[in-house]
């Protein structure tokens, strides 16, 4: 019996090609510090460009010092940030003070630049309740530990912003692994359904601890996951501060104008381990890959760009480095002066109104602590 050839109703493979083609990587500044996309260059003054460089240099020093402080036992949990400065600092640079940041665990620099005092960030790392007591008028959450949870909460914060009629946005960060979580999809889907002012950043640093990006999903880009939620998505060179800034700036304007949420994937790399708690990247990454990404370094290319413009030099950079080191020293001193935590402190931050069991336990511990 002759077998019947199946008719092709829909060219399924072609569907993927169509989607894939739409997600090209936005780059403005190449590895040599040259503008490759003149039309997309963001409108930043020389002072703003210098400030962005200053923040990236400062953050790199903060990372180096944090790693050595951790090794000396003077900091606790720490997730290194070197390599991701363009994704973290340039994205934050496009925000305003009134915007609400929902960070992932590696996104401490953004909340510091938003206004969290450095000594508090150190206290958070050490595991002290004063670490993220949120200063008045600072719109941030503590770094999220449960991967993806910040995405659904961002849908809620941004819906609240919309209902309150504010001209601000909620912005959140996760990594490549985070896009595999259910909460990632629920977050962008809710945000799309309610057309809220939200910006969802995926810092695709190629590895979720040790699991490479290609094992997370068959999707060619993470940005295209936005399509299913009916929201725009864009992939940018996450080592290019100008591209990251431009993408976030545009997403923010859209959000403020009531045009809804945006998903932004930044292609980046963390030079260090996942965290300082025993991760060894040589188990899953090659030296070749490391050096390939180090050539794309955001500081190197931005420095070249600014030097060519004649608005940056070694002396300026030295000054930033000295300032960072000085600030860190001061902040550690301040963190050292924090009071020792008591169980009664912990009980009193549980609820607005303590339930009867905690009231009773408070008295028991108060008695113990007075001895």
């Amino acid at each position: 019996m002759a077998s019947k050839t199946n008719n092709i109703v829909v060219d399924l493979a072609k569907q993927l090609d169509v989607v894939d083609k739409e997600f090209q990587t936005l780059q403005i500044l190449n590895e040599e510090g040259e503008i490759v996309n003149q039309d997309a260059v963001p409108d930043l003054t020389d002072e703003q460009l210098q400030e962005l460089m200053r923040r990236m240099v400062y953050t790199r020093i903060l990372d180096q010092r944090s790693i050595s402080l951790n090794r000396q036992g003077r900091l606790g949990f720490y997730a290194p940030t070197a390599g991701q400065e363009a994704s973290q600092i340039a994205s934050h640079f496009a925000l305003e003070k009134e915007d609400f940041i929902l960070p992932g665990y590696r996104d401490v620099p953004q909340i510091i630049w938003h206004g969290l005092p450095l000594h508090q960030a150190f206290l958070w790392s050490r595991g002290h309740f004063q670490g993220i007591q949120i200063p008045e008028d600072l719109h941030i959450l503590p770094p999220q530990i449960i991967i993806g949870a910040q995405y659904v909460q961002t849908a809620g914060v941004s819906l609240g912003i919309k209902k309150n009629g504010k001209k601000s946005v909620a912005i959140t960060y996760t990594g490549d692994g985070g896009t595999s979580q259910g909460d990632f999809y629920e977050g962008i889907n809710f945000a799309g359904a309610y057309q809220v002012p939200a910006i969802f950043i995926v810092q695709n640093n190629q590895f979720a601890i040790s699991t490479p990006r290609e094992k997370q999903t068959a999707a060619r880009t993470l940005a295209q996951k936005a399509v299913a939620a009916g929201i725009p998505g864009i992939q940018v060179d996450g080592m290019d501060p100008l591209a990251v800034y431009a993408a976030v700036k545009e997403a923010r304007e859209r959000a403020i104008n009531g045009e809804g949420p945006t998903l932004i994937e930044t292609l980046t790399y963390r030079y260090g381990p996942h965290t300082m708690s025993g991760d060894d990247p040589t188990r899953y990454r090659t030296k070749e890959l490391d050096s390939e990404w180090e050539k794309k370094d955001p500081l190197v290319r931005f420095r070249k760009y600014l030097e060519n413009k004649g608005i940056w030099n070694e002396e300026m950079e030295e000054k930033v480095i000295e300032q960072a080191k000085e600030d860190i020293k001061e902040a550690i001193k301040k963190a050292d002066a924090a009071p020792k935590q008591k169980v009664t402190d912990l009980i009193s931050i549980m609820n607005v109104e303590l339930p009867s069991n905690l009231k009773e336990q408070y008295e028991i511990y108060k008695e113990k602590e007075s001895k």
Binding site: L141, A149, V152, G156, V157, N164, G187, F190
Partner: protein, 325 residues
């Protein structure tokens, strides 16, 4: 005063609070036009608009995240989880996130959120709808867990929950939604969270219970009365925190107690009540405190509910063991 079922009382509580405080928001699956699958939110969207009462996409974790985010922006969210058996999908938002945010921010933020949800057995739902999962909630620091047994309590407790600046899990037993009516005052009134209620006075034994089991306990008390035993029925109303003062006062009066829950036996609310009695009133006891619970199986297939869920006969049997110890 009007005669109301529990579902009407719950609906009325939400209406009062929507009217009183413009920051109150009600949302969940099918709560808008449809008024909820049990009609708990009936007419609320029509009365208060889609901005205040709205449907969500079908995703419980998303609903939880939405509630947390809205609370951070100054709202007073009252999300509905359509059936409490679906709570596992939103456990991170509830137990991992909402219950901890005040603590994690060193007391900076508050979470004035009330999660409402139907739960409890005996109404032949499909599987994974009716489980009594209050123990999971009661074991989570930071949450208050409220379970009313009457229309009057339901309205007053729900109003208190919505006004609370701390997160509350408000569980509504499905079997009680329309099983009887009661006089319920119009307008607003509150019933304090964390306070038990003596639903029947007695002097020989305390039957401590909550939710639908309060009614089985009352039935058992009537039967015991015929045999000459005077049973006191304590309705916990809040299973976390426990009202240990009321529990202990009752036990000190009767010197005997049993604890009745619809949930399975292991690590449950009843075990906690027994522990509190042991720690605080052991010298008042004339007999061990026994429990009446469901067995430690998975929640049963609907045709087996009648043999699985504890009933007044089980309560009488256990009460007699304690009374004749």
């Amino acid at each position: 005063m009007a005669q109301m079922t529990m579902i009407q009382a719950i609906n009325d509580a939400m209406r009062q609070e929507l009217k009183r405080d413009e920051k109150v928001l009600i949302f969940g699956e099918d709560v808008g036009k449809n008024g909820g699958v049990f009609r708990a939110t009936e007419n609320l969207q029509a009365e208060f608009g889609e901005d205040r009462v709205f449907d969500t996409p079908l995703a419980e974790s998303g609903i939880g995240g939405l509630a947390i985010g809205l609370a951070l922006e100054g709202f007073r969210p009252v999300p509905e989880i359509q059936f409490f058996g679906f709570v596992y999908e939103v456990m991170d938002s509830i137990a991992g996130q909402m219950a901890r945010y005040r603590f994690r921010t060193g007391g900076s933020y508050k979470m004035p959120i009330t999660f409402r949800s139907p739960f409890g057995g005996g109404v032949h739902t499909p599987e994974m709808h009716a489980d009594s999962l209050e123990g999971l909630m009661a074991q989570t620091p930071g949450l208050r867990v409220v379970i009313p047994s009457t229309p009057y309590d339901a309205k007053g407790l729900l109003i208190s929950a919505i006004r609370s600046d701390d997160p509350v899990i408000f569980l509504e037993h499905m079997k009680l939604y329309r099983s009887f009516r009661q006089e319920v005052p119009e307008g607003d009134y509150t019933v304090e969270i964390g306070k038990a209620d003596i639903k029947r006075e007695g002097k020989d034994i305390s039957i401590i219970s909550y939710g639908a089991m309060v009614h089985e306990s009352l039935k058992a008390a009537e039967e015991l009365e015929k045999e000459g035993y005077s049973a006191e029925v304590v309705d916990l109303r809040t299973v976390s925190p426990l009202d240990v003062d009321t529990i202990v006062a009752s036990v000190e009066k009767t010197n005997r107690a049993i604890v009745v829950q619809e949930a399975q036996r292991v690590a449950g609310v009843a075990a906690n009540v027994v522990a509190e009695i042991n720690e605080r009133a052991i010298l008042s006891l004339e007999a061990p405190v026994l429990r009446v619970t469901a067995p430690d199986t998975v929640y049963p297939f609907s045709q087996a509910e009648s043999v699985w869920i504890p009933n007044y006969k089980d309560i009488i049997e256990t009460a007699k063991k304690v009374l004749t110890f």
